[in-house]
Amino acid sequence: MFRSFISWRYLFARRTNLIGMVGILVAVAALILILSIMTGFLAESRKVVRGALSDVLIQPAWFAEAPPAEPLLDATVRDARVRGCTAELVWGGVITQRGRSSVRGFSSPTSANPFVVQLIGVDVQSVERFIHPVVRATLGNFGGTLPRRRLADAFTATDFLQALAGTAQGPCAAPVKSPLFPFVPPRAHTGRGLPKPAIVVGDQLFDRLNMRVGETLQVATVVQDPETGDAQVNNQNYVVAGSFRSGENEMDRTRIYLARSDLSDLLGGTRQFTQVLLRLKDYDEYSAPLVADLRLSLAERGLIRGGEWGLSEVRTWEEFNQNLLGAIENERVLMAIMLSLVLVVAGFTIFAILSMMVTEKRRDIGILRALGATPRGILDLFLLIAFWDALLGTIMGAVVGTWAALRIDPIERALSDAFGVQIFNRDVYMFDHIPAIVEPSSVALIVIGAFCCALLFAAVPAWRAARLDPLTALRYE
């Protein structure tokens, strides 16, 4: 009985114990916060790395001719494991704004040139190929009833619909009128001669260049002349239909979406598509076997070249970014090792405080031994002090850490305002917010780790206390 009673009494009678408790609290809270942010960063990084790659990516080898995407789409969509698929045409380009000195941007070699963009041609208005009931319901949420014979594949296979529905945040960003019909030009541009093709611009690019809906942009790109093989510059005027926001800086800063057929026109019909994106019903279960099956079946049909070039043309998005994902995972392991040192520091705090306490309480130990306490009882007494420290510290730390992780954005803003320093510069990261994901298993692991660490470090001074000669302890002044 005396163990719990006296340990509890010592805990609050000696303020140094509270320092230990606060040490554990801070360590646990910091660990949870950092690990949650790290997990959030990794998840977001994976998302960014994945970009619009969907689950599986088919990139046929470079054909001299420009084959249509339909045979490839037909071949893949029949597979029951595929939820949706779409063809995409990705190309680089340069934009210029009429009447403005946009070429000035090219004179700065140090900063990212806002006029170099990535053009993404997608299908959103062709024949319906596949609509899953869940997809239909999702689409219904954005635009009421789904039009018949409408292709949902682009939306199903990519996150484009979510990006279109994202709330534009910039001072002049303008969401598209309807996410289901993103490339409809503003009313002022309809019925005035030949309609210009419409584009949807990332909201950061939209803001940066002070665009407005209805503005005409000239897009120029370079293609290879199919006859001579020489590079030639093509350009075309487009009308800005609105902006989208994915929340990922890189995409929102550089991407321009437009109908695949319009982009193909810009390329002079030299390319119909560059890749086919597949969204699977269950990525974890189906990705590996499906990729293997597709490599075989598509090669048999002559739609891809198979493995003869060494690099497969059918890959999961993870295989596509193998090196980068490997680096991220490596970083995660390194981070976990480094972070575990925080627990060791907390353990050392307990060790120092308890060692001090054993020295301070030598006479008490002698008294307790004289009154009949066993060495084991003394050991337990000091271990219990560490136990209470760890229990209260970890519980409070877990609460504080979880709360801080869930509210990290407002906390960061408040701190930035208070100190006049921008703690998280949203321009230099890939995200416009601090991502944080609290994983209950990680929290549990940290709490258990802190507990074990505290008890492990407490064992040494507790053992020392138990071994004290009662007479020496009694004589201690």
Binding site: M1, F2, F5, A13, I367, R369, L371, T374
Partner: protein, 264 residues
């Protein structure tokens, strides 16, 4: 030293009752030490403090242990209290050889059979008077056992403290008590488990004479009432005079043992 013994013998005017009763050889001894030796190493050489002490103590016996500083009184008291292990010899408490017991059994023996009263009280500063008194019971019992017996134990501790004149000091911590009050709390703690043996190491050595007298009266009264075998280490010859038996120690041996009542 010899004057102390003479004085102890010569001033035995209060009679048997006041001296804590005569030894009762008919009963089994509660404590027996046989040829107890203890030495301490001082660097490379060994310094022998006790040179083969023999001592038998019966229930109800009040023994004064006197001698000059360094004579080995405290060392002997610690060995008799099972706090220190002799290098040689045997110590029996209640007929059991204590050093053949396990560490836990020895601890239990200290808890139940032996009460200590120290010169410097040795109370835990974080605990109040009642809690300090209850400490031996807390050490003895498990959490569950203690919770079950808590009311009864507390009532017993409070009764003892009230009997010792501490009715209005029950919730006070040692830092808020005077020296005499602290020593009375220490006495209540020593007596809580109804031990058979009480070892007091200069219990009034840190008190003024008036307070010391009050504490002693209470101590002797409890010794008589409970028929405790008590050893009192003291420098005070007048105090030794009031004990039924006086052991005079010198250079690690018992020079004189007034094992028999001294005639007036």
């Amino acid at each position: 030293m010899s004057s102390t013994i003479t004085s102890a013998h010569g001033s035995d005017t209060a009679g048997e009752a006041l001296r804590g009763g005569a030894p009762t050889p008919a009963t089994d001894p509660v404590l027996r030490a046989h040829q107890v030796r203890r030495s301490f190493s001082m660097g490379s050489r060994s310094l022998e403090i006790l040179h083969g002490i023999d001592l038998t103590l019966h229930a109800g016996e009040l023994v004064a242990l006197v001698g000059a500083s360094g004579a080995g009184k405290s060392t002997l008291l610690h060995i008799l209290g099972v706090l220190d292990r002799p290098d040689d010899g045997k110590l029996e408490v209640g007929g059991r050889d204590v050093w053949s017991l396990s560490t836990n059994e020895r601890a239990r023996l200290r808890n139940l059979e032996i009460g200590f009263v120290f010169q410097f009280y040795h109370l835990l500063p974080e605990l109040n008077a009642v809690e300090n008194t209850l400490l031996p019971a807390m050490i003895e019992l498990s959490w569950l056992e203690y919770q079950r017996a808590k009311k009864k134990l507390r009532a017993r501790a409070v009764d003892m403290l009230v009997h010792f004149g501490l009715a209005d000091r029950l919730e006070h911590r040692p830092g808020e008590l005077s020296g005499g009050e602290r020593q009375r709390v220490a006495m209540a703690r020593a007596l809580l488990q109804n031990p058979k043996i009480l070892l007091a190491d200069e219990p009034t050595g840190n008190l003024d004479s008036s307070t010391g007298e009050t504490v002693l009266e209470l101590l002797f009264e409890e010794q008589r009432r409970r028929q405790l075998a008590m050893i009192l280490v003291t420098h005070d010859s007048r105090l030794a005079d009031r004990c039924g038996r006086v052991l005079m120690m010198e250079d690690g041996i018992v020079q004189a043992d007034s094992a028999h009542p001294v005639p007036d």
